[in-house]
Amino acid sequence: MERTEAELIAAVLKGDSASFEPLVQKYSPRVFATARRYARRESEVEDIAQEVWLKAFEKLNGFRGEAPFEHWLMRMTVRTCYDFLRGHQRNRESSFSDLSGPESEWLERFVTAPETAGENAEAARLLVGRVLERLSPQARLVITLLEIEDRSVKEISKLTGWSVPLVKVRAFRARAEMRKILAKMAKDKYL
């Protein structure tokens, strides 16, 4: 008979670390999908996921079971991703002069005829990746959660541990920061 989540957690807390494996198996896809939003290299994604599970194991006695385990785990995942962003703030100051051919073409199309620059194009995906990489960790986290994942301010507050007004302030600043980066990209490309 398959054990419930609560039974597995209780067993882990009693010292049976093998009972942790079904939990890892069940929730790893969500952890990996979230980590891939913030890290590009697969080795970095794996490091984040591993870090999340090690933290979850160490802090499992802090899980009171009031909210589903998944919510608790996702909070830990988002915070670990944020720590990762803070620890890997590279390439933030580099210029946009090294855009690839398709990226430049997409941008050119957007400038001359915006309606022809499709949102599903691979070039657009690469370009948004570049822009997100140049954002500060706070801004990137807020833009990802609010604009890309379409989460509410309240949800973001719970995930990040920031207060609701703080999330709003950071969202405002993040949008401004993104626009500034886009302006820099335009300047690097055309001037």
Partner: protein, 118 residues
């Protein structure tokens, strides 16, 4: 924002207007359209469990080592205190009785009494 195409001669400059808000909207939409995959590497859960097991064992060992070190430090402290006490206490004057002699007398009092009894 008004930008000018790079590399163009002055007479051929094309002035274009880039709508940054629209560009931002398009790029966000592009990011939304490309959901990251949720693929998990093969046997990832086994790796995590093995890693946890290897971390739990040294943890227990750490507790023992920490406890033993504390005990060793306490022993050294007590030894140093006793040494200091032995060194710094004034030497026994000839008129006074020796502590060890008193201790021996007390311990052997019953035997001495037995010997003195008729």
């Amino acid at each position: 924002m008004i930008v000018t195409r790079s590399g163009g001669a002055a007479s051929k400059k094309i002035r274009v207007r880039m709508n940054l808000a629209e560009l931002q909207r398009k790029l966000i939409a592009a990011a939304r359209a490309n959901m990251p995959g949720d693929r998990v590497p093969y046997a990832f859960e086994k790796r995590v469990t093995a890693l946890l097991a290897s971390r739990v064992a040294p943890k227990n060992l750490d507790l023992w080592v920490r406890g033993l070190w504390r005990a060793a430090v306490s022993c050294v402290a007590v030894a140093l205190l006793c040494g200091a006490w032995a060194v710094f206490t004034p030497a026994v004057t000839p008129g006074s009785t020796d502590l060890s002699q008193d201790f021996e007398n007390t311990l052997l009092a019953s035997v001495n009494q037995g010997d003195q009894a008729p």
